[in-house]
């Protein structure tokens, strides 16, 4: 075990760059996913049949084909088919973004639909334009509803980043795998890796709790101080996200 931690100290630069790759994939993937969630989610509540249809097809497609297959398709299957080759990190970002964007679209749709109907009617009665209505009345309320489910999706996205190891991006798992093969300390290596992920997940949860608090405060809703440190509840995601 001592061997492992001295090797750990030696490999610190690689581990740091691995952690950086993992974080980069998580954050960029999450941003792409968030963007797609809103685009696809808003399209799915549009009055136009075409826009609803396109959103439905895209969402079902990216939810229905496994993330694993999507990632491998981008990495192995796209280059011979199209002639374009993406870096492993970019493959990861795109695959995570598309996959979780599809799940997020359902969250956005559900949250917007859960804003009471009377709010729409009041905004119409006040003669607000559709854009104004969405921006000032509907979205701020829906956003509070979305955050817990989006947090769950974000943690799931983080938990998928070890897949990068399989397409030879130099992520955190790659760095620790190297350490493991060198020192032969299987148990210590994997427990360390799991602990790293746990800390990352908890840190992201705390950040999202802060976000939820500020969103609630903007609506004038009180949230207790304890809510800042609470961990996630697994049950909110499928409830708000609909069928996975």
């Amino acid at each position: 075990m001592n061997d492992f931690f001295s090797a750990f100290a030696d490999d610190l630069p690689q581990l740091r760059s691995g952690l950086w790759v993992t974080l980069e994939a998580t954050v960029l993937g999450a941003l792409l996913a968030l963007f797609l969630s809103f685009v696809l989610g808003l399209m799915s509540i549009s009055r136009l049949l075409l826009s609803r249809g396109v959103s439905r097809v895209v969402v079902e497609f990216f939810r229905g084909t496994s993330l694993y297959v999507q990632l491998f398709w981008l990495y192995y299957a796209m280059p011979p088919l199209t002639g374009y080759e993406l870096t492993p990190l970019l493959c990861g970002v795109i695959a995570f973004g598309l996959n979780y964007g599809a799940y997020g679209a359902e969250v956005v749709r559900g949250a917007i639909n859960s804003v009471p109907r009377a709010q729409y009617e009041a905004a119409v009665a006040l003669n607000m334009t559709p854009l104004h209505r969405m921006r000032k009345v509907i979205l701020p309320q829906a956003w509070v509803q979305m955050i817990p489910s989006l947090t769950n999706l974000l943690i799931q996205l983080l938990k998928c980043t070890p897949l990068l190891w399989l397409i030879s991006a130099a992520d955190l798992m790659t760095a620790i795998e190297k350490l493991r093969t060198r020192t032969g300390e299987t148990l210590t290596a994997y427990v360390t890796l799991l602990a790293c992920y746990f800390v990352l997940a908890y840190a992201l949860t705390l950040l999202m709790n802060l976000l939820e608090r500020s969103a609630k405060r903007r609506l004038g809703l009180a949230s207790g101080g304890g809510s800042l440190l609470k961990s996630r509840s697994a049950v909110t995601a499928p409830a708000a996200g609909g069928a996975r």
Binding site: Y68, V69, Y76, A77, P80, L187, L194, G242, A243
Partner: protein
């Protein structure tokens, strides 16, 4: 270089992929069973009257739920080399998803009206009989759609098993793709097979959810 889609290779690989698909299905079904049973056990343990039980259960669950399945799989496979990879895979998948299903059960159990517990106490039923005859039959019916959703999501994560050399569909796809230089064909097919298998299931779950009024 643009080689296009080789239909011959696709036709060639399809039987192999379907062969692997059987293993994918087997792992999903058995993994779901493990998750459904273990999740229920965790949910019941989480309501134990003493904190010496509930706190450790909660901590372990939170840890398993917040860490990547892939690392858990690879780690377990490296530690239990003498056990067959498929068995390791099913157990790890089952445990991972049990941490999610236990929350579902918890919500289901909380959803049983309080009067039911009180009635059981009034009839001086044993706690075992209270769970068996009154609480669980009501709770389980409410949670079935949510359990189904986790089964679908587990189905889409079974490709992770390929990493620990379980010969399921994606394992076969990677092998065929590497041997014949036909990654495009096999991964496109694998994706389509997933789509064809999971879309009707999620439609069905949606219908079931609507019928149960969720």
């Amino acid at each position: 270089m643009n080689e296009g889609f080789d239909w011959n290779a696709a036709g060639d690989a399809l039987p192999l992929l379907l062969q692997g698909f059987k293993v994918t299905l087997l792992a999903t079904v058995l993994g779901t069973l493990v998750a459904a049973v273990l999740g229920l056990a965790i949910a019941v343990a989480g309501r134990a009257p003493t904190r010496f039980v509930t706190v450790p259960v909660k901590v372990v669950m939170e840890f398993i739920r917040s860490t990547p399945l892939l690392v858990q799989l690879v780690g377990a496979a490296a530690l239990f080399t003498s056990v067959e990879p498929l068995t390791v895979g099913i157990v790890v998948l089952g445990i991972h998803y049990a941490t999610y299903t236990s929350e579902v059960y918890r919500a289901g159990i909380d959803g049983v009206p309080k009067g039911q517990w009180e009635a059981c106490r009034a009839l001086s039923m044993s706690s075992r009989r209270t769970w068996q005859a009154v609480i669980l039959p009501q709770a389980v019916r409410n949670v079935l759609p949510a359990l189904g959703n986790y089964a679908i999501s587990m189905f889409k994560e079974t490709p992770f098993l390929a990493v620990i050399t379980v010969q399921e569909m994606v394992f076969e796809a990677r092998k065929y793709g590497g041997d014949h230089f036909a990654y495009t064909e096999v991964f496109t097919l694998a994706g389509l097979i997933f789509l064809v298998a999971s879309y009707p299931t999620s439609l069905l779950m949606r219908k079931l959810e609507k019928r149960l009024g969720h």
